[in-house]
């Protein structure tokens, strides 16, 4: 039993060291710079090159558990879309996404006080059934969204006057932390209706989505994790909440590497001793 308590103490020490390592850079920022990767630039380019007053979809497919990673992306991309004068339709394939969308709008709208609800942006709320919903949007959007979140009828929303199906959407941007999310948007929006799709996701899901970023542009670039969010903030020239956190991120990464190294040295010594 003593070896168990020993291993528990060891574990608690590791926890404590990590806590300190993450807290310190938050209190005393270092100011390391980030470099922009190709995937983030690709997503930026799509939004940047989409013409004035196009209607675009922002799909909020996540919940508060991953908002540290995804909310900065949503805000930065929304800021970018607004600055290019695009009209944003927000929706959510996760019920919690509705609140995430409202929070992102509330924050970004401060920089764009003339933007009007219904004319420049709208929140259509949560829709169930993931991929089926996207497929239906490809056929008939008013059927999927009879009203917006405030109860306004689809036909009465000025910015959606000429928007009938996904084909009238310039691009769909999914901020996703799982299923349904980017994968479903690629499958049903791009591969079925040809709507360009881009998005941001948690670092956990990013590697599995990269095969979609190919010559067929199933996915137009991808933001993966907090680092990519800070890259995007860099691209639009805004120091947002992601950039501020990157120092803590870097220090923690180094600490993890140190842990791996110590663990391996320890295991090596144990093996050597048992051999001797």
């Amino acid at each position: 039993m003593s070896s168990n308590t020993h291993s528990q103490t060891e574990r608690h020490i590791v926890f404590l060291v990590l806590l300190v390592a993450v807290t310190l850079p938050l209190l005393f920022p270092i100011g390391w710079k980030t470099e922009v990767s190709g995937y983030a630039r690709m997503a930026w380019q799509l939004i940047d090159s989409t013409p004035d007053s196009s209607v675009v979809v922002f799909s909020f497919d996540y919940d508060p558990s991953t908002m540290t990673e995804l909310q900065p992306m949503a805000e930065a991309m929304l800021y970018h879309a607004f600055s290019r004068n695009q009209k944003v339709l927000a929706m959510a394939l996760w019920p919690q996404g509705v609140q995430m969308a409202d929070q992102a709008y509330a924050k970004v709208i401060k920089s764009f006080p003339d933007k009007k609800y219904g004319v420049d942006f709208v929140n259509m709320g949560y829709k169930i059934a993931g991929i089926v919903t996207i497929q239906s949007m490809g056929k008939n959007m008013p059927e999927v969204f009879p009203t917006d979140e405030r109860g306004t009828k689809y036909a009465d929303i000025p910015m959606l006057k000429n928007v009938k199906t996904l084909k009238d959407i310039a691009y769909a941007n999914s901020l996703s932390s799982g299923t349904p999310g980017i994968k479903e948007w690629v499958m049903a929006a791009h591969d079925a209706y040809g709507t360009p799709v881009t998005g941001g996701t948690t670092a956990v899901s990013a590697p599995g989505l990269l095969p979609y970023v190919n010559s067929q542009r199933q996915l137009n670039g991808l933001l993966g994790g907090l680092k990519a969010a800070s890259e995007y903030e860099n691209l639009i020239g805004q120091i947002g909440s992601a950039t501020v956190k990157m120092d803590a991120q870097s220090v923690a990464h180094l600490l993890i590497l140190v842990f791996i190294a110590i663990g391996n040295v320890k295991a090596f010594l144990v093996r050597k001793r048992s051999k001797a």
Binding site: T34, G38, Q96, V132, E143, L210, N214, G225, H253
Partner: protein, 232 residues
């Protein structure tokens, strides 16, 4: 009939979806639109069913005074409070049964439902997964041990990517001359993501897709019918 008719339904709907993918002519596209719209509504009831079952299960645990039943009671009470506030006064945008509850809003600062979301749901949800940061640290120390050629490969890649995805990593190799830029850590980690990682993920994707095509086919044709439950 109790068994075969549902199988026919599954076949008809599945088959309709598949052929309408290839046939642009009416009436298929109209039929599929209708079916998808129905699917949306039935899914709503399915979620409702799931939540009611959860409610029932917790109620049973409380009734039988299972160990830790008071925790389930706390869960049930928070469920009821959140549900009632949501239905009575609505959420940020939606109007509830009693309207927008302006008086309450001025008292609390926001709608009661949103108040609960901001100050209870959000911190709970966000903190739950942040626990994993600690576990990954202790696993790094205690379990990520180099053992074979394969695990070496894994660890080396991991180290490059962990470094490459930080601001620190780019600083570390920023002195490299222009013709060695490939070895600059962020570039190297992007190269790994773009080529070897994409290749392996694509292989996983392809073999998983084949599995999904196979199992979907078996469901549509009624070969696989375990989803209907036992024969009782």
């Amino acid at each position: 009939m109790k068994r075969n008719l549902p199988l026919i339904f599954a076949f008809l709907t599945g088959f309709l979806v598949v052929i309408s993918e290839f046939i642009p002519h009416r009436p298929f596209s109209l039929m599929i639109s209708t079916l998808q719209n129905w699917f949306l509504i039935i899914s709503g009831f399915a979620i409702l069913l799931g939540q009611i079952s959860l409610f029932q299960a917790n109620l049973a645990k409380i009734k039988q005074k299972e160990s830790g039943w008071y925790f389930y009671l706390a869960g049930l009470i928070s469920f009821m409070i959140m549900l009632l506030t949501g239905l009575l006064w609505g959420t940020q945008e939606y109007k509830g049964i009693l309207g927008h509850g302006t008086h309450l809003q001025s008292l609390v600062g926001s709608k009661p439902f949103d108040y609960l979301f901001d100050f209870a749901y959000m911190p709970l949800s966000a903190t739950m997964f942040s626990l994993l940061a600690f576990f990954i640290a202790s696993a790094a120390y205690r379990a990520f041990i180099i053992r074979s050629f394969e695990s070496n490969l894994l660890m080396i890649t991991a180290v490059i990517v962990i470094l490459g995805r930080t601001s620190f990593g780019s600083m570390l190799t920023s002195w490299l001359p222009e013709n060695l830029r490939f070895w600059h850590l962020p570039n190297l980690s992007d190269f790994i993501m773009e080529f070897p990682n994409s290749a392996a993920q694509r292989a996983i994707m392809i073999s998983a897709a084949l599995g999904i095509i196979g199992s979907s086919l078996r469901i549509i044709l009624g070969i696989e019918r375990s989803y209907l439950g036992g024969d009782k």
